[in-house]
């Protein structure tokens, strides 16, 4: 595992140019004969990160490593794995980092709940604010001169 990380780090820093080699992402030679299996492979690939790239999934990436992972995904599918088993297999080998959709476990719960929690909070503040606006608002006391100036500016 450590050795693999070192390798990945070396790839990351040593060959940044190799990463953007524009061969086609999914190569015709990689594709499975069975269209259903191939469609599943594509769907799984979209959720897996190309480890040596910057924020690209392996389906879109041209990197060698992405190619290897695509082939690996297809090999597992051919061996009869379910989608979940394939993903688990890849995660076991490459770590959680490979998942573009973070798991809903541990601290990640906070990540997934951030939107709903914030919405409740903001909704509550907004509701209180709107309710408070029904009361009498006091003017913030512009002087007469300022009022006149304002009227002039507001005049359409």
């Amino acid at each position: 595992m450590i050795r693999r990380l070192v390798l990945i780090a070396a790839l990351l820093f040593a060959f940044p140019l190799a990463v953007s080699r524009p061969a086609l992402a999914v190569l015709p030679s990689e594709m499975l004969k069975d269209p259903v299996l191939e469609a599943r492979a594509r769907e799984i690939s979209k959720g897996l990160r190309c480890l040596v790239c910057r924020n690209e999934n392996i389906d879109d990436s041209n990197a060698k490593l992405a190619h290897d992972l695509r082939v690996l995904v297809r090999d597992r599918l051919k061996a009869g794995d379910t989608d979940q088993q394939v993903v688990d297999y890849i995660v076991a080998r490459y770590g959680e980092y490979v998942l573009l959709r973070p798991r809903v476990t541990g601290a990640n719960l906070l990540l997934w709940a951030a939107g709903p929690i914030m919405l409740l909070l903001a909704g509550w503040i907004g509701w209180r604010y709107v309710r408070s606006q029904r009361g009498d608002g006091q003017g913030d006391g512009l002087s007469d001169e300022e009022q006149a100036r304002l009227r002039e500016l507001m005049r359409d």
Binding site: S20, R21, L24, R54, P102, G115, G126, G139, D140
Partner: protein, 667 residues
């Protein structure tokens, strides 16, 4: 010599900014008119100095002065002239110089167009603007100086990333920066108002045009970047939820919220503290965006710079600007009493809902963007947050925004009833749902995004139409009368309808391309014809062969394809694989046949080992161009609103008053 002149001008601009930051602010506190008014010449001279500095750098790039380190690293004498010029900001140092240049430009514009501002407010706004400038001049001069010379200049430069040698990306940064930095003006106005302790309708009338302009440029900048990704990266992706994209998207969302709430301040004297907070948040997210892009802390497709000293410097600016302004807000926001009273159901509360949804959506993007960093540094858990997360967590907010938008847009101010506002909308609602149902029945696949997206898009576009029809009393009065009403309709109202319809068009494009794009990947031999299935009709592609092409600074292999739709020839497409001679970096140039209802998109890949076939990828992308067309229409709506009579009248009134003041020689 010009490089030294540029460097010298920049140092001078830094000095001027320091003075402009202090003197007018002190003057405004003490009520010294002369000290306040020096903000104007200071802002103008700051602009002239940064312009000189920027032009000096452009000149270094144009004249290929390789004794300047930045030029040697990022340019090349063979590069076409256009990309020599745009190369000025295609790198870290140059882009930061563009950043401060635009900042100074906005400062100068406030000084010029702000003649009708109260002197104290103008002085404070320009002082805050200068303070931001000081931070960024220091950043450039101490960590990212673009004018450093080399003792041993190379004979030729190292070239520019070929991906950037493209018209779409060449003009993407200036637009984006006009947006990012334009929000600094709203921020300066907000901070000045907090210091002054007063927010009124006139204040909102000055703030709103700046926000509108910034939002408009940000919209265009983001659309330009997305369009570039679509045709340049080789598979027609147009949005990746990349940290750098998110960095521009967050301020866009907040700015959209801000320009709505500023209307309430302007027309109803309500939501004052709220609006100030949004103005602070909008620019804070711009700064966060700059930090994300410029520090390289979150590595991503576009991050070129990665040097920790820069990151720490920007983080410091970030902490002072955001921390300082929020502290000021906490201390002084209580002083901004709102006047306008409104009921639970009213245009005001509709805008509050809009603000909540947009801000929370921006917050979700923010959390998702920094989560990998947070998780790794704090929890020691290395993970990724990619497109699948954002698609799931962000999309619901936009769906709700689209659902409530047409109703909110029809609600009258102060007090309203939903049933009355829905009056003209029932027909639109029925039509949109029917359209969604029709799509559901017609489409062969299962994705629900198709029918839902189309129904929402129709709801927005037709809803904007219904709004217009009601305003001009179409059908209820004579056509001539309606036409007269249309002509007399305030531009701001027209802009609102156009922008809302534009959002509908964006949603339509996104839903259609996501739901119904088709793809074909294969090995093709010259002479071979093959089918690509489209969502409606079928297409045949004939691969006619390949040839070598020589460009100004690259060599390419070009494939030639003839496209037939239902047996009729519709296009000849010539995708390329380029290798740039200096950097040896290859790129793909997709060939696209754009159409109103679909794009045909073909990419050629590597030759096969047997030497006869080529890897070919082809796509049918339905309604692709609607995404960017919709964004342009949204920006157009902003422009219409910006040209509203009341902003021009305000300027005219100031001129009249000055003339009058001049006549009696007193004010």
């Amino acid at each position: 010599m010009t490089a030294e002149l540029g460097h010298f001008s920049l140092v001078l601009a830094f000095m001027v900014a320091i003075v402009q930051m202090i003197v007018p602010m002190v003057g405004a506190q003490k009520g010294w008119r002369g000290w306040m008014d020096m903000a104007v010449p200071a802002a103008l001279s700051q602009f002239v100095l940064t312009l000189l500095s920027f032009l000096a750098l452009v000149w270094a790039f144009v004249s290929s002065d390789f004794s300047v380190a930045l030029v040697a690293e990022n340019s090349n004498s063979l590069k076409p002239m256009l990309y020599k010029i745009t190369g000025t900001w295609g790198n870290h140092e140059g882009s930061m110089l563009l950043w401060v240049f635009i900042l100074a430009l906005f400062g100068a514009m406030v000084a010029l167009f702000g003649r009708n501002l109260p002197h104290a407010l103008r002085a404070r706004v320009l002082a805050v603007q200068a303070a931001i400038g000081v931070a960024f001049y220091a950043f450039i001069l101490f960590t990212s100086n673009p004018f450093l010379r080399l003792t041993m200049p190379p004979l030729d430069g190292r070239g520019m990333n070929p991906l950037l040698q493209d018209p779409g990306l060449a003009f993407h940064p200036p637009f984006l920066y006009l947006g990012y930095v334009g929000l600094s003006t709203s921020f300066s106005f907000a901070v000045a108002a907090l210091i002054e302790g007063r927010v009124d309708a006139a204040w909102a009338r000055w703030v709103r045009p700046w926000t509108l302009a910034a939002w408009l440029f940000l919209t265009l900048g983001i659309a330009l970047g997305s369009w570039w990704a679509y045709y340049e990266l080789g598979w027609g992706g147009w949005w990746f939820w990349d940290p750098v994209e998110n960095a521009s998207f967050m301020p866009w969302l907040i700015a959209a919220a801000l320009l709505h709430s500023a209307i309430v301040v302007e027309k109803r004297e309500g939501l004052k503290a709220w609006t100030i907070l949004l103005a602070i948040l909008a620019f804070s997210f711009s700064l966060i965006g700059t930090f994300i892009v410029r520090s390289g802390v979150i590595t991503s497709v576009h991050a070129f710079a990665s040097d920790p000293s820069r990151g720490v410097f920007i983080l410091l600016i970030l902490a002072i600007a955001i921390g300082g302004s929020l502290t000021l807000f906490a201390l002084r926001a209580g002083a901004t009493q709102s006047k306008g009273v409104f009921a639970m159901v009213s245009r005001e509360s509709g805008i509050v809902l809009n603000n909540i949804l947009l801000v929370v959506a921006a917050f979700v993007v923010f959390v998702g963007t920094i989560w990998p960093l947070f998780s790794e540094v704090v929890l020691g858990r290395k993970l990724s947050v990619g497109a699948p997360f954002f698609d799931l967590a962000f999309t619901p907010f936009m769906v709700v925004v689209a659902m409530v938008l047409p109703i909110g847009a029809m609600l009258p101010w102060k007090r309203a009833t939903v049933s009355r506002a829905m009056g003209p909308l029932w027909g639109v609602l029925a039509l949109s749902v029917a359209l969604g149902g029709l799509v559901l029945v017609l489409q062969t696949g299962t994705p629900m995004i198709g029918p839902i997206g189309i129904a929402l898009a129709a709801w927005l576009i037709l809803g904007a139409g219904a709004d217009l029809a009601q305003r001009i009393r179409l059908g209820r009065q004579s056509p001539g009368d309606s036409l007269r009403r249309l002509v007399n309709l305030p531009r701001a109202d027209l802009g609102k309808m156009v922008a809302h319809a534009g959002l509908g068009i964006v949603i339509l494009g996104i839903s259609a391309i996501t739901a119904w794009q088709t793809e074909d990947i294969r090995v093709a031999r010259p002479g071979q014809t093959f089918d690509i299935p489209g969502p409606r009709s079928s297409y045949q592609l004939r691969f006619d062969g390949v040839r070598d092409v020589k460009g100004p600074n690259y060599n390419a292999i070009e494939g030639e394809f003839t496209v037939f739709q239902d047996g009729r020839e519709v296009a000849r497409l010539r995708p390329q694989k380029r290798v740039y001679t200096v950097s040896r970096q290859p790129t793909t140039e997709a060939a696209i046949r754009p159409g109103l209802f679909r794009d045909i998109y073909v990419v050629i890949g590597d030759p096969q080992k047997d030497g006869k076939g080529w890897a070919v990828r082809s796509y049918i992308k339905p309604f692709a161009d609607w995404i960017w067309a919709g964004a342009i229409i949204m920006a157009l709506g902003g422009l219409l609103s910006l040209s509203d009579r009341r902003y021009r009248v305000a300027a005219g009134a100031a001129r009249r008053r000055r003339a009058a003041a001049g006549a009696v020689a007193a004010e």
